[in-house]
Symmetry: C2
């Protein structure tokens, strides 16, 4: 069987397994060290009571013939789609049609699957650092060459996210001769914790309209935005419906990392270009992809997700987010007191810090593990521009966060 040759372009070692390996080795050599993990971005609070109740009720529905549900609509049940429409969009003055919302089992899948709609030679732009799924899924699909010594894949357009541009790169001023077809933007950002302003997003929408490009807007961390004047949806920007799809997730907003639910919004106005120059509906294409290769998110999960939008669900999940954001504040301020230059953590559950001068991301990883028994994520794991940075997550108990800050003060303060 002739295999897809593009998989061989991906490096064999992944970021999180390598972190796991180093932590296991350290723990084995230092069995008394109480290691605190602020690395992988996984939630720690239990599901809100409103969600638990809704999931129990849904399980009970599946227990009797009269209320049993088999195959559901691939796009998601109306009860969830309408709750999303109302709460996430209509209340903020945005009109999204029910059939423009595609419920999925999470944004990781949507991030990986969306590129199936792009031409094989479409030019993809990503920020650097970047959430790795955007890159890897396009590498697997053959839109790049093999990586160079700096880890970058020829064929991708990299947009450096640096302290100078507040980790929110502007649209490229001049375009590649071939033109960028698609750009992935994540705000609030994983890994940097940066959030795009209305002005920045407006510039991106204008650029996309001018260059007939598509914006893939990843708003998985939208619920962490603390300033209500910041845009939560790209559709708050006039003209975005013609050029942008938007991903959202219940993982971080409601603790669904192990429950699995997200959704993708694909407005009907978006037109892509077919092989013969004809204009084709991206909505029709995604609808075909979604119904052909997916059979809907689990019924029990969709009932749990819908409960997020009840008054109780909103209050309970809101309190969890406030709890994590207080963790973020404690981490941010503790790091700053210890002399670190810190970014993010104000509208996102991630702190992005500069490693001490002359220390690489991985060197700092080892130092932090050895001296403070803390685990974080080396910034270089998210791209070459992440070198010299380090990500800490606010997902943990208050006791662990307080302890982490105390250790940082001890070691570096």
């Amino acid at each position: 069987m002739r295999a897809n040759p593009n998989f061989q372009k991906l490096p064999a070692g992944y970021l999180f397994p390598e972190i796991g390996r180093r932590v296991r080795a350290y723990a084995a050599a230092h069995p008394d060290a109480k290691v605190i993990r602020l690395g992988i971005g996984d939630v720690t609070e239990p599901l809100a009571p409103a969600i638990i109740g809704a999931m129990h009720a849904a399980v009970d529905e599946l227990a009797t013939r009269e209320t049993f549900r088999g195959y559901g609509p691939e796009q998601g049940y109306d009860f969830l789609v309408e709750a999303i429409r109302e709460h996430d969009y209509r209340r903020r003055g945005i009109d999204v049609a029910a059939d423009e919302i595609f419920v999925s089992d999470g944004s990781k899948c949507d991030s990986g699957n969306l590129q199936e709609l792009f031409a094989a030679d479409a030019v993809i732009a990503v920020t650097d650092p970047v959430y790795p799924v955007y890159v890897d899924s396009n590498v697997m699909a053959g839109r790049t060459g093999a990586p160079g010594p700096d880890g970058r894949f020829p064929g991708l357009v990299y947009l450096p996210a640096t302290a100078e541009n507040d980790f929110c790169p502007p649209p490229p001023e001049t375009t590649d001769a071939r033109g960028v077809d698609v750009v992935y933007l994540c705000s609030p950002n994983n890994p940097t914790g940066a959030v795009m302003t209305r002005e920045q997003l407006t510039a991106w929408v204008a650029w996309a309209r001018q260059h007939d490009a598509l914006i893939v807007f990843d708003a998985a961390y939208e619920a962490y935005i603390q300033d209500d004047t910041l845009p939560r949806s790209i559709y708050e920007i006039p003209g975005a419906r013609e050029v942008a799809v938007e991903m959202r997730s219940f993982s971080k907003r409601a603790g669904f990392t192990g429950v699995r639910c997200g959704f993708l919004v694909v407005p009907k106005e978006i037109r892509a270009t077919g092989a013969g120059g004809e204009r084709v509906s991206l909505h029709a294409m995604w609808s075909r992809r979604h119904t052909t290769k997916f059979n809907g998110a689990s019924y029990v999960v969709q009932r749990g997700a819908a409960a997020v939008f009840t008054p109780e669900g909103l209050a309970q999940t809101g309190a969890q987010i406030a709890f994590y954001m207080e963790n973020a504040r404690i981490l941010r301020e503790g790091l700053a007191r210890a002399g670190f230059k810190v970014y993010g953590g104000q509208h996102a559950p991630y702190i992005w810090l500069e490693t001490p001068a002359g220390t690489t991301s991985w060197q700092f990883f080892d130092e932090l593990l050895d001296r403070a028994h803390l685990v974080g994520t080396p910034g270089s794991g998210f791209g070459p521009q992440g070198e010299g940075y380090f990500r800490l997550s606010a997902f943990n108990s208050r006791a662990n966060v307080d302890e982490a800050v105390a250790r940082i003060a001890n070691v570096f303060g």
Copy 2:
């Protein structure tokens, strides 16, 4: 944005929406007709009590910080993987390693995603009639031309499944000059209800080994096999581990059509051919795909699936399958008494019947709806060789099945 041009090759009208449209139109014009649906293959019995109990317990685990589970292993939790290994394989004398089992959210996804591992110009063979996802996912990936007037896609190799070969086509005797890279085999078969014998599967494995081809073995209906001498897994055939992957699903074996769980087995022995002729591990490729684009099946769902393998779960789901298979017997015998030539329904929940002479599949659909108020699936919807055939599903209440047989006797008997 330049779009993937291959989506335009897919016909706009799909089978099941067209069925839905005709049924709605008929019901609107005949509001008193009590329509019985034996069309789409969706289960009707509620989840077994053992599964319900396990899902409630899992939901409760997510309610407290001490037992909460966030991201799980992408391949699936050990408790489920080990249950699958033991029950589905080891008890039948088959050794499958834990890390060769990839738990997913269902076989539709696995069916659609697997082709990402194949080269862009890999030659794909499918039976005709066929489960449409095998075809459509390869069309979207560009491995075919636009369909001809008979609905067939140039570039695919079609293997006619006919009454003459018991709807189990043998391997092609001579291969296309380019060679077939991959063949999709489904047994027990959707839509024909045919089941492959050990001799037939042995011939396929020998062929695949001789031609360095991959067999994608879809065993979603394995639990419906009534004769224990028939193979339930392709790995019962010596030599299959080097040439076959196997899909299984909890949808039809345990009523998970709306709950969503399945798995794919990828043995480590399988070698595919890279662009430079080198041999690459298909297991390593699928592992990379699965961990990059998927975040694991829902924890609650995995706990439910594991409960299928408890003594209570096996007894309860076994009783459901026996119930559906008794439905199949009643349908089969009722149809035969009414003069129909019927196939399948002995080791599968599907009856495949010949339409009356001179009647196309869609004409019979309309006649059955109009005269007996019964809904089935036109065989031609599964491929040109399905013309003149019709699929009825055994998933229904006993009362509806008895009533369906009575109506068939009245109208056609």
